[in-house]
């Protein structure tokens, strides 16, 4: 009986020690990104880590490799390892909600970056590029550059991501008003350059006479452009991307891609890290969703921009 009492007292003391150690430990931030196979997301993750360090926090980047199951493992690891906040770029708008809720239940704040989860309450805040508005502007430019007529192809991103559809819907909300513009093919290439090249090669076999390609990101635009070069059609076809990635910005300068939409990953990542810092210091009233403006970049204004942002 005495031994049992001693054991219980020891356990209580240990639990007390562990709780007190946890509250005194420096805060740590996990950065979970959908993929590090795309330079844009590498920039987003590294910028978030850099800002977290500037603010005095240790951080670690987790790559979900566009796999929701792996993302789920990262969340479980981050929660179990005692991270206090997660800066999160989701793989799946619907599927990732459960992970965010899991973190919320564990008292870990989640700040979404660029991509959204389908909930206004799960994450502490969601900082999102206003893709729809940007694609309205890209759509207007597309109509003008094709003189309101011609055949075009659309390459979609990952179909479970809201950005894919916000971009597509913004573009179509303009272009579909012009009956002279005919979409001959619409296929997903998962935001991936190599896949976009393969998809575009196969589309060109079925539809050799096209005038424009609208792509849901720059990686796919570069892949589509490569396929057009191989088919000897790059001069004639206008290719539109989205992101403001380095190769796309260079390509616009060289007159290869027609336009892209510049997102501001630095703004998004730094704001997410700053929000985490403010959260640790007691702030709770964050905007549930914060759309960040996106700007159209063409040969006419390319001098104002660099990869992933504007010139200082």
């Amino acid at each position: 009986m005495k031994r049992l009492t001693a054991a219980i007292i020891l356990l209580v003391l240990l639990a007390g020690c562990s709780a007190s150690t946890k509250t005194n430990q420096p805060k740590r931030i996990a950065i979970v990104v959908s993929t590090l196979n795309n330079p844009w997301f590498v920039f987003l993750a590294e910028t978030a880590a850099k800002k977290a360090k500037e603010l005095g926090y240790d951080s670690k980047i987790f790559d979900s490799q566009n796999n929701t199951a792996l993302e789920s493992d990262h969340f479980e690891n981050a929660i179990a390892s005692g991270y206090n906040a997660i800066l999160f770029n989701p793989t799946d708008a619907a599927g990732s909600v459960a992970n965010v809720n899991k973190a919320k239940e564990a008292g870990v704040a989640v700040f979404c970056m660029d991509r959204e989860v389908n909930s206004k309450d799960a994450a502490t805040s969601q900082i999102l590029s206003d893709s729809y508005s940007a694609c309205i502007e890209l759509g207007k430019l597309f109509v003008k550059s094709l003189d309101k007529k011609g055949n075009y192809v659309e390459l979609l991103g990952i179909v479970s991501d809201n950005n894919t559809w916000n971009r597509s819907k913004g573009f179509h909300s303009v272009v579909d008003n012009y009956p002279g513009l005919k979409m001959v093919a619409q296929q997903s290439a998962d935001f991936d350059r190599n896949k976009a090249m393969e998809v575009m090669e196969s589309i060109l076999q079925a539809h050799p006479d096209i005038d424009g390609v609208f792509c849901g990101n720059d990686a796919m635009a570069m892949g589509a452009y490569q396929a057009l070069v191989a088919a000897g059609k790059a001069e004639k076809v206008k290719v539109y991307g989205f992101d403001g990635a380095e190769d796309a910005v260079n390509s616009i300068k060289e007159g290869k891609l027609t336009a892209t939409a510049m997102q501001f990953p630095k703004t998004i990542a730094e704001l997410a890290a700053t929000y985490a810092d403010e959260f640790f210091k007691g702030k709770n009233d964050f905007p549930k969703k914060l759309p960040i403006p996106v700007e159209v970049v063409t040969t006419e204004n390319i001098d104002k921009y660099i990869a992933y942002g504007k010139k200082e």
Binding site: D130, Y132, S133, I136
Partner: protein, 205 residues
């Protein structure tokens, strides 16, 4: 006997766990419940025909806006709204003008006190001006930005389907039109030569 009880208990446990692990629902029911979550068309109707008319007095007079854009653009943009803090901003405006001409895309107006050309869009009702100009709609209302963006499309469709046909049937050059509508301006080019108004409420005299 003992073995029999043991196997029966195992079977009962497996059955119980299995029963509670698997749920069968009709795919059509699942789809219907997903679709029920947000009705963008109903939201757009309520916005355009109920909320907006009760707030239309908040629309800035178009001649005052133009004067402010000329004299003090920063003050003029204080009337504007948008979901993000970029250069493109939206205004809800009201005014009265004489219809000078009409073509397949616009009604061209002469508005007293304004040297800029004012056109009422009648064909291309696109963009977020109608959704965001009044500042009534906030992104925080919606579960997803997709829902909010679908609202924009539904409002534009309603303008095409229900606001414009009665106007186009009645209006002709020489008529006067009272309008409440929304315009989009870029802060880098605050006063364009032509102000395009996306109509929300029109009354022809």
């Amino acid at each position: 006997m003992h073995k029999g009880i043991k196997y029966a208990l195992i079977a009962a446990s497996v059955g119980l766990v299995g029963y509670n692990s698997v749920y069968v629902k009709k795919l059509s029911d699942m789809k219907a419940s997903e679709e029920k979550t947000f009705d963008a068309k109903a939201y757009a109707k309520d916005f355009l025909f109920k909320k907006l008319p009760s707030e239309k007095d908040k629309a800035v007079d178009i001649s005052k806006l133009v004067a402010d854009l000329k004299n003090n653009p920063r003050q003029a943009f204080a009337y504007s709204h948008a979901q993000n803090n970029g250069d493109i901003r939206f205004f809800m405006v009201q005014g009265q003008g004489e219809i000078l001409k009409m073509d397949e895309t616009n009604a061209y107006l002469k508005v007293p006190g304004i040297s800029s050309e004012v056109v009422l869009a009648t064909e291309y009702i696109i963009g977020n001006a109608a959704r965001d100009g009044s500042g009534i709609i906030s992104v925080d209302e919606f579960n997803t930005t997709m829902d909010m963006n679908t609202v924009s499309e539904e409002i534009n469709k309603l303008i095409r389907a229900e606001v414009l046909p009665p106007f186009e049937a009645k209006a002709k050059p020489g008529n006067t039109v009272d309008f409440t509508g929304c315009i989009e301006l870029n802060q880098t080019k605050p006063l364009p030569e032509t102000l395009e108004v996306i109509p929300l409420i029109l009354q022809t005299k």
